[in-house]
Symmetry: C2
């Protein structure tokens, strides 16, 4: 265990439930966050890609974060997504998260304009850090080139760490490319690196990663936590094989709609299956098939007995 880490372990990019009117549902949201912490998540990353975070408005993100703070969630365990295409929105969201006591923020680069220069991206983060002007700010860079298209190349990461060693403390690597993750781990050993999938959890931990931040933590945090807690044990490889197989089975479906369909099924709460456009829910037959396949082939089920 790395003594100085701000975050480590199993972190869920929390799904965002919507009410009948299409607006985010704070009650279901807080209950899901509480259940995830009970299931073994070490922290939560609301407003990530899996959260449909970029489909939420600036005000909606701030209101939901306040609901978590009011809902007995320890904000020091929160790493909300506060990135935005707009410098102004990124500053507002980041400042708000720091003021609520969030232990960190997970920041996308500005992702509308493609192929920005290293200088431009560096300046973006420098201006956010300067504008927020708070030593409590801890930034985790969110590298997800398959979706954002704009990412963090090694030299940019190094430049940000060097300029802001107390602030730019880690990265989520959702490149899906283990070579990229291991290159970052090797280049910046003190950096808190989280692969974006539990498929890389054991390999990551063996090479100095801090844990993982993964969509599927929304439904399988307990099993993923078991790998995290036992990664030095003799059983680690077998446990990893189990969570890898489950991840791959879920990945056979469109990830966000599938996760929501699974939760809707086990909570017996159809409203949970709703998504905000541009996403659409899984067709009913596909949702049924996903649940059945996971149960039959992987013994997968969810127990919401602990939920609020």
């Amino acid at each position: 265990m790395h003594k100085d880490r701000h975050f480590s372990g199993v972190i869920a990019p929390v799904l965002t439930p919507f009410g009948e009117d299409g607006t985010p549902d704070p009650e279901r949201f807080v209950a899901h966050c509480q259940w995830l912490m009970d299931e073994g998540c070490t922290a939560l990353a609301p407003f990530g890609t899996t959260s449909e975070g970029n489909s939420l408005g600036v005000d909606e993100r701030m209101e939901l974060l306040e609901e978590l703070a009011d809902g007995d969630i320890d904000t020091s365990k929160l790493m909300p997504g506060t990135g935005a295409c707009s410098l102004a929105d990124a500053i507002v969201l980041t400042r708000h998260a720091v003021e609520l006591g969030c232990g960190g923020v997970l920041m996308l680069p500005p992702f509308y304009y493609k192929a920005p220069s290293e200088d431009g991206l560096f300046r973006f983060f420098a201006e956010v850090i300067e504008a927020v002007g708070d030593d409590r700010l801890k930034i985790y860079l969110y590298h997800i080139p398959p979706v954002a298209q704009v990412g963090f190349a090694l030299p940019l990461i190094g430049r940000l760490i060097k300029a802001f060693p107390q602030t730019v403390v880690g990265l989520k690597d959702s490149s899906g490319d283990w070579n990229n993750t291991s290159a970052i781990l090797e280049a910046y050993p003190e950096f808190e690196v989280f692969p974006g999938s539990e498929v890389f959890l054991l390999d990551g931990l063996r090479h100095g990663a801090a844990g993982c931040i993964s969509a599927t933590c929304n439904v399988s945090a307990a099993a993923i936590r078991k790998v995290y807690d036992n990664w030095r044990g003799g059983d680690a490889d077998r446990l990893q094989q189990g969570i890898t197989a489950l991840r791959q089975a879920i990945q056979a479906y469109p990830m966000i709609p599938a996760l929501k369909a699974i939760i809707a099924h086990y909570r017996q709460d159809p409203a949970w299956a709703q998504l905000r456009p541009p996403f659409t829910p899984l067709a009913e037959a596909d949702a049924r098939k996903a649940v059945t396949t996971l149960a039959d082939a992987h013994g997968f089920r969810l127990d919401f007995a602990t939920a609020a």
Copy 2:
């Protein structure tokens, strides 16, 4: 001239000037808009790609639009960008534009999540239109796949027109692909289609396009307007060659920094050259070279005598 068109002619996606503190400068912004209308723009499209529109915050966009309304700009001639990744932000921005009397809005699709389904994109626009719930709303779809990655395929355009014939009235095609523009013109002859570059202006007009919405209108609206006004004349091809050559000369530089450098030079106002990250200004030598090349090879110069 098509009698029922809401917009037509030469439309500038207005550059956004920033003050010393990095925030948008309303005074320079309003003055530039007034000058553009004096130069021959038939309408203005603030908060487009050229405007660094996606680098502006939701509040900043609304405040700047109010400055235009207060600054004697006829809001019926405004087609502000109100698209956003977030349905909530898109609704807020679109409603605000309609309430200010804007003649139209230019809407990007939600562009964070890649490869959304046709259903998901249709539902996004349907929900914006329903939430705004105002007959005055006129939407121009903003197709710019090289930047947004997410675009409007022909069947989606047709479905939106069919469902909302009074609301979804046109499209800006910044694909840079004339085959795409002409396919849309052919499929939907009543649709108000604007190529995203004056390079396609004359061809566009000859095939039923409504005009063009082009970055370079920020510095060469008068020449582009001349093509628009004389497209049936014997001189049309020669005039088109002139604006095509100028566009290509400007395009040799990064477009947005180059346009700002040109305006800063001729206004003798270095602040105009500022950009918001992730953009960075042109190096001084490049800026000088751009101005000199355009002046020497194209006789290009700007006259701000008419500016406020």
